[in-house]
């Protein structure tokens, strides 16, 4: 029987806060550096793939050079074990990124997102451009679980697991948001869309509170655990929104990244929104936004630029390095998992 650990993330965050300034989370970046103009076969001039935050705040490459790693999800039992959505499929490491195994085969490629079920961590879900893949053996082997997904129209950009219930998973696809409550054996659509849903996130403060962003339908909110979704007002819907991030340290603070629009924030739980691009480069193509669970620092990864940080939730910014990068995702991992 699968266990439920709804309060684990919050406890870890509180533990971190009580610990003072010492980070209680590792920060991993997935992306590439200096790849402008890169095509298949190009000569790489920098290391790409996984970067980890060092004690001095800088980022160091680890493991192999792989220019197309999008995001990773860590095994809550051991952060040396993590799974990465990469161009070649889902890659799994058991030694912190030094060696890898591609668990998927030729018939699954270009996963866009991957996530471990925190309550059933042998199970990993992958958003595929043609559906959804599931591994029940820590990423060693994969199969499709798509009952309830349409035959066509199942390009899936993001998969997100409900931390309160094993096997409860959302998939953001080109035709909407799909939900399974039985570990992907059956899916049902809970929100229809005509364009790709790009991100789905669960609030660290209220597990019933979910946000989603999309390519042309703006941002969506659910207050009932993702069963129903309504548009969030005040957010442009003419440009693609790439991801959404809650501030784990303060309820009500949310950030949204957009390549075209830059960075938007709300500090009243989505009621009003403000552009926070002052202090970012003129071409503020924000590929990813994230909020540090240890201190509420807001991160903005500028496409082709650097990683920026703000300690006042976007009012002022400073570069944190990683120049000429495309950071596909920022993943915080509790140090306790080491």
């Amino acid at each position: 029987m699968k266990k439920k650990y709804p309060a684990i993330p919050l406890l870890l965050i509180l533990t971190g806060l009580l610990a003072g300034a010492t980070p209680v989370h590792d920060l991993y970046l997935f992306g590439a550096v200096n790849i402008a103009g890169r095509v298949a076969g190009s000569r790489d001039v920098a290391k790409n793939g996984v970067y980890g935050r060092q004690a001095d705040g800088s980022f160091a490459h680890r493991g192999i050079n792989y220019p197309a790693m999008l995001t990773g999800s860590f095994d809550p039992r051991d952060s040396q074990v993590f799974h990465v959505a990469a161009l070649c499929g889902v890659m799994t490491t058991t030694d912190g990124g030094h060696t890898w195994r591609i668990g998927t085969r030729w018939d699954m490629t270009e996963p866009k997102s991957v996530m471990v079920d925190p309550n059933a961590p042998d199970t990993v879900y992958a958003a595929l451009p043609d559906g959804l893949g599931v591994s029940t053996d820590r990423g060693h082997s994969w199969s499709r679980h798509e009952n309830g997904l349409p035959e066509r129209g199942k390009y899936t950009q993001v998969v997100t697991v409900d931390r309160t219930q094993a096997g409860r998973v959302f998939a953001g696809s080109e035709t909407g948001i799909y939900l399974t409550e039985d570990a992907a054996h059956n899916w049902r659509r809970v929100f229809p869309a005509v364009d790709t849903v790009t991100d789905i996130r669960q609030s660290p403060h209220d597990p019933k509170h979910w946000l989603a962003v999309s390519q042309s339908a703006g941002a969506l909110v659910s207050r009932d655990g993702g069963l129903t979704w309504t548009p969030l007002t005040g957010i442009p819907d003419q440009q693609a929104l790439y991801n959404v991030a809650f501030d784990p340290t303060r309820a009500g603070r949310i950030a949204i990244a957009s390549w075209s629009l830059g960075l938007l924030t709300s500090e009243d739980d989505g009621a009003t929104w403000v552009f926070r691009n002052d202090g970012l480069p003129e071409k503020h193509h924000v590929w990813r936004a994230a909020v540090d669970p240890d201190n509420g620092r807001l991160y903005a990864a500028i496409d082709g630029g650097a990683l920026y940080g703000s300690d006042d939730f976007g009012r002022t910014w400073r570069s944190l390095g990683m120049e000429d990068s495309r950071i596909q995702s920022l993943v915080f991992v509790p140090c306790a998992q080491r």
């Binding site: 402008a36 103009g37 050079n65 070649c88 591609i102 790439y242």
Partner: protein, 632 residues
């Protein structure tokens, strides 16, 4: 987005005499006896190898290609071994374009290289993690290489391979994909069909399978697929020049039809056209194993015999669609018509490849095609983030900018002449093409671009509305269906790379320039009728004949054409409807995998018959057999 390789990038080709490229135009070998053809083929292969060897500079280290050629020739194994160790002692790049060269090195050198050099190659397959890519040709290169290397090292555990899978796992996976790809190609058609450059990215891996696969079935399949590729090249080329349509081409090859890697294969196989500069860049990687293969004499006849007119219908497929489409792969109904002096080719239009497709053209024969823009066609310059997203798993708003930075400068410009459009529908009957356009409101470019080569002669805008021209020994008639103006077509010049990748500027080429017929109307159309100059007393007689052809058309509410072709066919074609010829709708549902005088196969059959006259070769992928027979 990591789409393409520009094939010439890989090789820092040294300038030295390249006999066939710089020499006089080649004539088709008059002596077609099999032993003569075989000898000539091997001579051309050797020319390629020699060119690399002759460029060896004793004061400089060997390039990877030079080292490989030395192994092919059995020279200096000790020095080559040491050089291989040096080459592999630094971080590697190149992904699948790294894999097949080192596969060739491993197999060519397995009995010559030092144990240390062989160990260095083997170790590189553990430490360097090549990407698999996102395109069919990437995967064919990746998996063919992996298939072969895991046969060379059959019992190794997962930790000895970059991807963590054992030899057995990798071998099984590679075999699975290769069989799947071959099955698609022989049931519903190849995806990247008639590609001007990417033919190499298929032909080289297939040659390697044919040469080195231990699995006899895969070895045989590799040879059969290579046969199919080379037979199609022969059938689709006009005196060695691959013409349109092309699933993929580029801004250079779409105009200067000869200037393509495909020409290297025409030269190497059939010897009736000069090879491109540097043997097309990748040509060397075919040459190093080319002695393991030779096209049968009947392919040579298909390639060189242009004394009778022929029409060929093929079934192909689009690139895989990830989203925003009801079908995974759009069927492609391809028509080719070849005569001695020109070729006309097309498919039905629509989006088959998001960037580099070329839907239709008339290509005429030039006695020496080098440097000549011997083609005529029109396009809607379509650029769409949504269409890009259909084929690429990327976000929408940065992709168009990205393409220019990745080496495809024309994608988002108004005067582009490369690419397909969802608003273009094409019908071809023999040497008549009707292309209709209904460009949706809101699309960036509400215009049609007609390409008029600098090499056309006697371009005449006739009061009838037809534009007449001469190309080689062909007469051409181009009828724009809406008003137009003329622009010069500027070139693209690459500037030093900036922080954002490739940077381009437009420039005016020296000498005569190509022109673009710009027709800035959303509902639009083009009719092109070609003929041989030998059919008419004079150019004026051709013009009179065209003027006399019955033509009715309207553009509103949808483009509609009723035209009686020069060949007497009554064609009715309305945008959005099935074309009608002599009162009968074209039945695309009955389109075969191949149907014509030279290639024939039923859809779904996995069995292709390649013919010329009484000679036949049957490629039966069901039984993995090749059989030759001669009709009594």
């Amino acid at each position: 987005m990591k789409k393409l390789i520009i094939p010439f990038l890989l090789l820092a080709v040294l300038v030295s005499a390249q006999p066939s490229f710089t020499g006089p135009m080649l004539a088709p070998p008059a002596d077609t006896r099999p032993d003569t053809l075989r000898r000539a083929y091997h001579t051309r292969v050797d020319e390629t190898l020699d060119w690399y060897l002759n460029a060896v500079d004793a004061a400089k280290p060997l390039t990877r290609e030079q080292a490989l050629v030395k192994l092919v020739r059995g020279q200096d194994a000790t020095a080559v071994s040491q050089r291989i160790i040096e080459l592999l002692s630094v971080p590697q790049s190149g992904d699948m374009f790294w894999m097949f060269p080192w596969t060739a090195m491993a197999f060519t050198g397995r009995d010559q290289l030092s144990p240390e050099a062989r160990a260095a190659i083997r170790e590189a397959w553990r430490t360097y993690f090549p990407m698999r890519g996102d395109t069919e040709n990437h995967w064919v290169m990746y998996y063919a290489s992996l298939f072969l290397m895991t046969e060379l090292y059959p019992d190794d555990p997962g930790e000895t391979w970059f991807n963590g899978k054992s030899s057995a796992e990798n071998h099984a996976e590679a075999k699975g994909f290769l069989l799947h790809w071959m099955d698609l190609a022989t049931t519903i058609g190849q995806g990247e069909f008639n590609a001007t450059h990417y033919i190499g990215e298929y032909a080289i891996p297939m040659l390697y399978l044919a040469a080195w696969a231990e699995d006899p079935a895969m070895r045989q399949r590799g040879r059969m697929m290579l046969d199919l590729l080379m037979a199609e090249l022969a059938d689709n080329s006009l005196h060695g020049v691959l013409r349109g349509p092309n699933a993929r081409t580029d801004d250079t090859s779409v105009l200067e039809r000869w200037n393509a890697l495909a020409t290297y294969f025409s030269w190497a196989m059939y010897g009736h056209t000069p090879p491109p500069s540097g043997y097309g860049g990748w040509g060397i990687y075919f040459a190093v194993a080319a002695h393991h293969y030779q096209p049968p004499p009947l392919f040579h006849l298909i390639a060189t015999d242009r004394e009778f007119d022929r029409e060929q219908h093929d079934h192909k497929r689009s690139r895989r669609r990830w989203r925003y489409s009801d079908v995974e792969m759009m069927p492609v109904y391809k028509t080719g018509y070849i005569r001695r002096d020109y070729a006309v080719g097309s498919y039905q239009g629509g989006v088959t490849d998001p960037i580099q497709a070329h839907v239709w053209d008339v290509t005429w024969r030039e006695d020496d095609p080098r440097g000549v823009h011997n083609t005529m066609f029109s396009v809607h310059p379509h650029a769409s983030a949504r269409v890009l997203q259909m084929y690429f798993t990327e976000y929408p708003d940065w992709m168009i900018d990205l393409l220019a930075s990745q080496g495809k400068p024309s994608y988002g410009v108004a005067d582009k002449i490369l690419g397909c459009s969802p608003y273009e529908q094409v019908f071809q009957d023999l040497d008549t093409v009707i292309a209709l356009y209904a460009i949706a409101p809101g699309e960036n470019f509400q215009r049609v671009n007609g390409f008029f080569s600098r090499n056309l002669r006697d371009v005449t805008e006739d009061a009838s509305g037809w534009i007449f021209a001469r190309g080689g020994n062909a007469y051409l008639a181009y009828r724009p269906l809406a008003p137009y103006t003329w622009d010069d077509l500027l070139g693209y010049r690459q500037l030093p790379r900036g922080d954002s990748g490739y940077v381009w500027e437009r420039f005016r080429p020296e000498g005569p320039v190509d022109r673009i017929l710009v027709s800035p109307h959303a509902n639009n159309g083009t009719i092109v009728q070609a003929a041989s100059a030998d059919e008419f007393e004079s150019f004026e007689a051709f013009q009179a004949a065209i003027r006399a052809l019955p033509l009715e058309f309207t553009l509103e509410p949808r483009p509609t054409v009723k035209f009686t072709t020069l060949r007497g066919k009554k064609v009715a074609f309305t945008y959005g409807e099935t074309p009608v010829v002599n009162g009968r709708p074209v039945d695309y549902a009955r389109w075969k995998l191949f149907e014509g005088p030279h290639l024939n196969a039923e859809l779904g059959s996995r069995k292709i018959t390649i013919s010329h006259g009484r000679q036949h070769r049957v490629l039966d992928f069901n039984t993995v057999t090749t059989s030759d027979y001669v009709t009594p």
